[in-house]
Symmetry: C2
Subunit: 521 residues, 2 copies
């Protein structure tokens, strides 16, 4: 809290009126250069193709996903240093871009299955390039006329599909922030005065979420002033679904402690196991105790579009809100995250302030098209267009079929795992596209499965992962499940893109077996 840092260098500070420090000649030169600078954009597509940023076609899947270099070495390969006077030509810049692409992970490579997102939909990328080029903010119709109407249309359609009928929503910078929207709305609905006077005078307000749910609820509890301890963790069953009896028990316990149960998060597609909670049962409990019911459907919200698996979301229409990230399963480029609520007026009521420099009421158009009042942000990135373009290109039914196929593939993958020696599923059955499993190297098979054996097994996934990265052939994530005292296993995730087939499933199993044997040599 003292001036221990150095002062900023103000030696050239003048603040003189029209000092013309930068001469007209220099300005003319900068302008001429700028005309050239814009041409760099013409070469970006070719650069990406040259450097194989999109190994989208399965004939290209033998290309490396990543050329891995340790952090310290990477610093020597790319000149990261930012300096005052070092300028670059277009050719230098292209060379730099080439290196950046070369050492980046190709997430649109068909063998990248490391996160909940996979390959992109090219129409999504087209939309995002145009979004970037048009470079505007989502707060007003004035500066985002087309994009405002797109956001509205997407929200309207999602309200229809999920059974809300009437409702509202907003694109947010990601699932964690969508989940914060939900908590803040729940709090505002029950205690509208918190907007003015804060949470200080109140008994502790309590959030509930399952042990399988995402960590963003604890992060939100910290940020929003509830405290992590007031985010109560509810137990799950074998499949990773919230135990609704335990939820009710915890609610009663919290009440008996003089605290106020406020908010329940149920999950549609948990991060590790891909579990869907039983929303009808959770809704019953929420209605009984008058709690806000939110669904973290960041992963599983896409099943709204699936024909065969939509039933996983049964009861979603009874929720007060949900989060859904089309940048996960559907192939929308990051970030593309929706927060949806059944409460039609609550978003602007809770979040708006009268802001006169931006949301003037004396405009030349119907200002109800300005969406900024619903947002906690001021400037807000346009995330609607890329998703809208994807939906236009394929119809939402097209994504339904791709998702059905991804789910079919995940089930076929699980079946193969069950039947193949050396592989073992973590769960007997999976609800969604995450398939969790171990590889048991030959040397470890037919042994007594002692604690020591298990600890050795849990080391396999990180070792195989290291080899995957070093060889660049495949990327599949791994995770432990600490609340069950289970160590590392692989988590394979199926998404709309890449579009998989049976041969590719065999490749993945063969490759893990190959690397698994290599790492125990």
């Amino acid at each position: 809290m003292n001036g221990s840092g150095n002062q900023i260098n103000t030696s050239k500070c003048g603040n003189t009126l029209c000092s013309s420090y930068v001469t007209p000649k220099e300005i003319e030169e900068i302008r001429l250069n700028l005309d050239d600078d814009w041409k760099v954009l013409r070469s970006i597509y070719d650069l990406l193709i040259d450097e194989k940023a999109f190994c989208c076609n399965n004939t290209e899947w033998n290309e490396k996903i990543v050329q891995f270099v340790q952090p310290a070495d990477l610093k020597n390969l790319i000149d990261f240093k930012i300096e005052e006077n070092q300028t670059k030509t277009i050719e230098d810049i292209k060379k730099l871009c080439r290196e950046v692409i070369k050492y980046s992970v190709k997430t649109s490579h068909g063998r990248f299955h490391n996160q909940l997102f996979g390959q992109m939909d090219p129409y999504g990328l087209a939309g995002s390039w145009i979004t970037e080029a048009v470079n505007t903010s989502a707060y007003t119709f004035e500066v985002a006329p087309v994009f405002s109407l797109m956001e509205t249309e997407i929200i309207r359609k999602v309200c229809e599909l999920c059974g809300y009928g009437q409702g509202d929503g907003i694109f947010s910078p990601g699932g964690s922030i969508s989940n914060m929207y939900a908590i803040v709305l729940a709090r505002y609905k029950r205690f509208p005065n918190i907007k003015s006077t804060g949470m200080f005078g109140l008994p502790p307000l309590v959030l509930f979420t399952s042990e399988e749910s995402h960590y963003s609820f604890k992060k939100a509890a910290n940020w929003l002033g509830f405290g992590v301890d007031n985010c109560i963790i509810v137990k799950t069953n074998d499949k990773g679904q919230m135990l609704v009896e335990d939820l009710e028990k915890q609610i009663l316990l919290v009440k008996s402690q003089g605290k106020v149960p406020l908010f329940v998060n149920a999950t549609a597609g948990t991060t590790v196991l891909g579990a869907f909670d039983d929303f009808e049962k959770v809704a019953d409990v929420c209605e009984k105790y008058d709690l806000w019911m939110h669904i973290d459907a960041c992963l599983g919200g896409s099943s709204l579009l699936s024909y065969q698996y939509r039933c996983l979301l049964k009861g979603i229409e009874r929720s007060n809100s949900f989060s859904w990230n089309p940048h996960k399963s559907l192939g929308a480029p990051l970030q593309c995250a929706l927060f949806m609520t059944r409460e039609t007026e609550l978003l602007p009521q809770c979040n708006s302030l009268a802001v006169h420099y931006l949301f003037q009421q004396d405009k030349y158009y119907d200002v109800s098209y300005d969406t900024g009042n619903k947002s906690v942000q001021c400037g807000r990135k346009i995330d609607a267009f890329k998703f809208w373009l994807m939906l236009k290109a394929r119809g939402y039914g097209g994504f339904g079929r791709l998702l059905d196929h991804a789910l079919d593939m995940s089930k076929l993958f699980a079946k193969k795992l069950q039947q193949r020696e050396g592989f073992r599923l973590v769960l007997d059955e999976y609800q969604y596209t995450n398939i969790c499993f171990w590889y048991i190297p030959k040397k470890m098979r037919n042994c007594k499965e002692t604690e020591e054996w298990k600890l050795k097994l849990y080391e396999i996934a990180p070792k195989v992962k290291e080899l995957m990265i070093l060889q660049g052939t495949l990327m599949v994530g791994y995770s432990p499940l600490q609340y069950r005292n289970i160590g590392n296993f692989f988590r394979m995730v199926f998404t709309c893109f890449p579009v998989m087939d049976e041969k590719e499933l065999d490749f993945i199993l063969n490759e893990i077996e190959r690397l698994g044997e290599e790492c125990v040599l």
Copy 2:
């Protein structure tokens, strides 16, 4: 809170193992089409050029900035409807994209001065296109090796430039969220237990910010559980700078009420007047009362790079944190927002949770390069690369000179306004690049300036703005200053791009005069 919505349609729900609902033949077809779909990217650049998305060269500045259409009419011009089975060919998609660009506001047009951002730096756009194409998330070095090191380098360099020396930082989805980071850190440093148990047991914690400051502090006070009333508004002087005597008075008042002063926000470049608070004086008060000093430098942080105007930030090295949006003055595409703090360990301490599926400690590289533990988000868009590429291309000194020029131009513009009949400055003197002024139509000159006259004057800016939009010749924002009981005036903003010259300043004044006379006819 009941099932008033409709149930989702689950008529086709099967959940049968490997039902092969989507046939191998259909999959093959989708894959073949996908190969073609990727080619759409090849045409995006040409489409943007054709539709004049970048009127970057001043020979093109007579092109329309926007082809304005009322919301209801726009719905008839573009088919916004999302449907289940309507699919499109690449040609259809290109046509749609063309329409989207056509009816969007061209914010990179050299006559767009409507927001705090202006034209983009083409290298920024090149960086953002590659970022979108590589499509990854900032949480781990594993999936963002190059980008993680870039973020680290930018943060290191900014710490050096601002005089923090050692420090930390993170890219966030915008200034509002950066400002929330600051408040949450301040709260955590003083009351670390809030992370566990929340704010319930505490006396009210109070934030201070000036009447000229951004509304995001009130929004943050709502979200973070303080309540808007605990965000105390400090008075300003004629220039729009926080009155530090009033700050001290308010702090003492709050203390006398049994509340706890926690956090002071000073502003570097206020939204409307572009005012810079006196950071040395604010720092003295913060040190005296042991308060966290944050600077909202979302707009004015860029002056760190300016040679002549860096002195506006004197004392920034004494702050605990600041927010800076390179997407404003510098021409980085939206979103590009930095949160910086002098506290080296606080970001991860405050925001981290042990998350085992993502931040495994048994990785094959030095996990200190994983930045996700510092963030309130999980997935986080890569916002560093575009800015890094700009800085590489021009050196940060290049932006310093462009900013010096923008500031010179703003001062010349103010001088012209002072000398020209029919124009009147709102302030006598401006510290930064925002110049606020009225246009007084001929009919209204040399009249007694009654309350009625003033109300008439305040109607001019909205009317001129409407004509600007309808004719598409110029976009300059307007605003009132309600806390001073002042009605609408124009706010002209100078940024690095477009690179302006004196002729262009005259165009703006002539155009406002032309439209101003037209609207009183």
